[in-house]
Symmetry: D2
Subunit: 361 residues, 4 copies
Amino acid sequence: MSHNTFGHLFRVTTWGESHGPALGCIVDGCPPGLPLTPEMLQVFLDQRRPGTSRFVTQRKEPDAIKILSGVFEDDRTGGPVTTGTPISLMIENMDQRSKDYSEIRDRYRPGHADFTYDAKYGVRDYRGGGRSSARETAARVAAGGVARQVLGSGITLRACVTQIGPHKASPNRNWEHRDTNPFFAADEAVVPVWEKFLDETRKAGSSAGAIIEVEAVGVPAGWGAPVYGKLDAEIAAALMSINAAKAVEIGAGFDAAMLSGETNADQMRSGEDGPEFLSNNNGGIAGGISTGQPVVARLAIKPTSSILTAVQSVTREGENVEVSTKGRHDPCVGIRAVPVAEAMLACILADAKLRHRGQVG
Amino acid sequence: MSHNTFGHLFRVTTWGESHGPALGCIVDGCPPGLPLTPEMLQVFLDQRRPGTSRFVTQRKEPDAIKILSGVFEDDRTGGPVTTGTPISLMIENMDQRSKDYSEIRDRYRPGHADFTYDAKYGVRDYRGGGRSSARETAARVAAGGVARQVLGSGITLRACVTQIGPHKASPNRNWEHRDTNPFFAADEAVVPVWEKFLDETRKAGSSAGAIIEVEAVGVPAGWGAPVYGKLDAEIAAALMSINAAKAVEIGAGFDAAMLSGETNADQMRSGEDGPEFLSNNNGGIAGGISTGQPVVARLAIKPTSSILTAVQSVTREGENVEVSTKGRHDPCVGIRAVPVAEAMLACILADAKLRHRGQVG
Amino acid sequence: MSHNTFGHLFRVTTWGESHGPALGCIVDGCPPGLPLTPEMLQVFLDQRRPGTSRFVTQRKEPDAIKILSGVFEDDRTGGPVTTGTPISLMIENMDQRSKDYSEIRDRYRPGHADFTYDAKYGVRDYRGGGRSSARETAARVAAGGVARQVLGSGITLRACVTQIGPHKASPNRNWEHRDTNPFFAADEAVVPVWEKFLDETRKAGSSAGAIIEVEAVGVPAGWGAPVYGKLDAEIAAALMSINAAKAVEIGAGFDAAMLSGETNADQMRSGEDGPEFLSNNNGGIAGGISTGQPVVARLAIKPTSSILTAVQSVTREGENVEVSTKGRHDPCVGIRAVPVAEAMLACILADAKLRHRGQVG
Amino acid sequence: MSHNTFGHLFRVTTWGESHGPALGCIVDGCPPGLPLTPEMLQVFLDQRRPGTSRFVTQRKEPDAIKILSGVFEDDRTGGPVTTGTPISLMIENMDQRSKDYSEIRDRYRPGHADFTYDAKYGVRDYRGGGRSSARETAARVAAGGVARQVLGSGITLRACVTQIGPHKASPNRNWEHRDTNPFFAADEAVVPVWEKFLDETRKAGSSAGAIIEVEAVGVPAGWGAPVYGKLDAEIAAALMSINAAKAVEIGAGFDAAMLSGETNADQMRSGEDGPEFLSNNNGGIAGGISTGQPVVARLAIKPTSSILTAVQSVTREGENVEVSTKGRHDPCVGIRAVPVAEAMLACILADAKLRHRGQVG
């Protein structure tokens, strides 16, 4: 993780501001010969796209992905495949409406990065948060689509929202329901609860936080590079780098602190294909290396900072002011973080796969 | 974070196994001219040292640090200062008692990295967990001592245990009490509770987890490198890389998911030295950049996996067995993680300081 | 240097193929507040642009640079300045004429990377060499323009051709002549010699190599990071990464091997602003750190591999064939490498400046 | 290449000063299961060791290597093998004789890094050049021994001196002679010429430079990572980072600039195992990727800067002085650079092998 790049062998570098002409990423180090079309990436971008329900921002962005390099016709199949060279992906910004943001030019929006970017750089693109906007995550989702090709069909990546505000979904995941509701809930019963809660939240000019669970099923044992490139350390960094993320846990996470040693330990029995675990409190990672069980992580997304309700703040010149954000914002930005969390996990795992293959063969 | 190295400009590489002849680290990129003696580092190593109370392992290790390079006499003061070249630090292992570990040669201890190291590498130093042993963290603590010199006296680093098993300390930190009890508790009242709980845990042949809070006071606004080298992303990786860590949160952390937007936003008022924040739910970091408020993080440490109570497991050859660990182990390994968490935060901040200075001047 | 990225704090990542829709780069880690417009970069791209004389390829490419991110209006001056976030630069390919390349689809052009890309990746964009085309260097030149802003006006970067084929320019550099001839020669007298030689070379269906000298005047003493990030090691890698480069030397270079110790040593005398050197055999670098003298390097560029004269080769299927390249090619590709060498040196120095500032302040 | 670390997957970090207690390195990312004993490394260290003839320094150093971590008994063979964890290697300095160096404490030795280290860091270990001493290369040679195990017996690494001062060896390499003379000459006839020349040089209180050729036979086609991690770019950096190196070339190198396109191009014919090349002007690398031919590089080493003959210099305080170096020095430091060049090439190739395997499988 270095400035705007992450990954070691499978490397992603993103660029672009919320209201610039475009945003995008370069995916470098991708293995050659993998089928790749814009359509394969678009399906994930469409999950993150604004305007899909009343619970997310109404900004109009088709988020159409273009592949500018790194893909060429395969001489056997004739279809487009990766060539092993850098894959440049670009999304043009369509709905820029800069005028919406003119009044926040000089005032710092609490909870946003307005003040800190100014403190660091002394200059910032104030339109929609500029580089700090969650719009940057579109590039991550595109890169995640490439990473899925690296991982192949043997690994299933999936994420869902497990909590919005104080309302938790059932701990039993019904993945078949995830795409039948606007919340990426893997639980039918919680949908009306969250609808009601978020409608009230929106009407109150407020916003809500969320917890997301993301998992990868089918990861073989042995991925990860102790002791500082541990798989869980890399996942923690990747998820914490998502806009508005404030916490990450693996497996039992914070609850592990409350368990006894014998309850927490994932005991083993001999199985047909090697050891089988009797539980997965470790979330599929021990000593920084994958165990072969599902890799399971959760992250907390704080409530959207852009709200109608006025909050106290200051201007660049040090005057006290009140700030309230008009315009199109997500009442719960955590919802659209679901495909982003999947994408980040995909990228980390693709990199771990290549690094493991590099060291161990 | 790459294999056994972390940091960009201030870089730490550690080496060594639990029962090898020695362990240590190289600290590279340290600014020149900083006073550095073994004694300055030993004070932190002594906090992490085993055998200081009945609540930690009784292994006898003086953990005496040696400086092998990178320090030379300053021609003005005559005292030893860093020269800007790699600082090699070494600790010799004294109490190796390899015989204790002979019986776990072929059986995987649940919760440990025995199985995953074998799955990855096909060979492992089974004595005391080898490279995956928490003994590696001694090298981190030494490196953290160097990092503190980089940060200078204007930044205060401190950590404490806030929870052991189900028992929480008071949310009010009384830092003056932290070093007057064997738990690094910043709360006098919780000490007898934890004593009783851990005595019972130990007698039951079990172990307990813990939650640790670590903070840095005095960090100026502007450190951190968005969007993948965000300060919170780097802290998350650094803390999650600590042995037995399963969760990390910044500021309000998971609780932020339950707050409303207006409650969570750290509102600002104009102060004498720039903006002042009315709360610190963001834990001193917004958009991946420090705000000038205290940087606050917490991590969960799972219960020690080495316990007297027998748990089910398998051998390398796939036979079902029971494993119970005799010998000297920490009933709550989280306690000794306190100086480690401080050290990791110190290293991340030292690196952030240098990188910020590099980019912005 | 990692795949398609180089630099540590000032980092450049390039992408794009010769006949894809576009090519470009991301410059990450640039200090904020530096004036930057497309025009500032275009002046260097125009030096590298094809079609400027009969001695370079006639491909028609305006090489118009676009800035897609990382630059915003300065609130004090109103002018465009860097914001400290990734600067995305793009050049659209205009003159793609893919049909020219259809016949080399299956045959390896000797001297080119056709065979090795195939051996490595098993698939390649054969149009104009794809990723291995010297067209990629346009992105380096653009990045170099940004690096010059980092270095500021106190450092003068300049390069010239010192030899084409067997014909050497005078060792006295007359820099004022460099831009008055199509060869970047800092020597008027050699111009007609090279004209005659290259006209003959071109008519013979052949090509010629060249030697380029590049220097930076005004670099302060102290830049560079021993012992593997030595300034000369980084310059060597940067210049050797230029297409068709086969050799790099610093200062006296290979000639140093023939000097006696006392002749080669750059003796010193006390001067007004510190030590003054009586010679510059070290090329401005000692122990990997700049001395304050001009940093001087040379690189050899092999003759263009694309020639009209038929040479023996094989097809992908292993048949023996003859290959002769029709179409628009540089008779001496070394000429257009001059602005590229300047750009690479600029990027390395910008990175060295930031890293030195980071470590030493 | 970052400060004192190089490599991406196979990573080497070195530490230590000429007259400190010890020096060493950490080799990280090494594949597991490779046999490794101190004796395997010592054979290469003995080639670099001082005191082996009158043509190299007489400093008494056994250079005995210790392996402190990363190696453990293989449960199948019982022999010591790499475990995939960091390999810490250490050499204790025996013959420190610090008093020899007291007079250079305040005066800068021309050609050495004394002035530049002071300019950069403001403090330096002046004893024997401290960190800038060629003694650091012992750690490289040790690391190179590990790299050879990664490369395996199918790849032959060998280097020889091809020129000392103005005297060139025959272009025909007779490798069987290389170890029968004190110069690593692969040419019997040149040995008496060099003996006479270096004896005269030494008596004159002077020193001589040298050119070294290093090659790797058996490298398969496909290693290298264009376009900034090109194999030749990495070799250039690695060789240029060797003390006193001033130039690097690959294959025909600078001579390539004088050849015609058709002479320089390595033409191909169909062979039994794929394409065969009719020449090797490219030195086994095209487009930054290995071709399958021998990888061939040369480097120039400047004459030893420490000479008996007095040269002009200044003190730290700016006084003009004369400097002449007494004590034990190499009249031609290039000789002992031969095993160092082999080691650096071995490390670069080991890393390229792992990275290629990582990306392409």
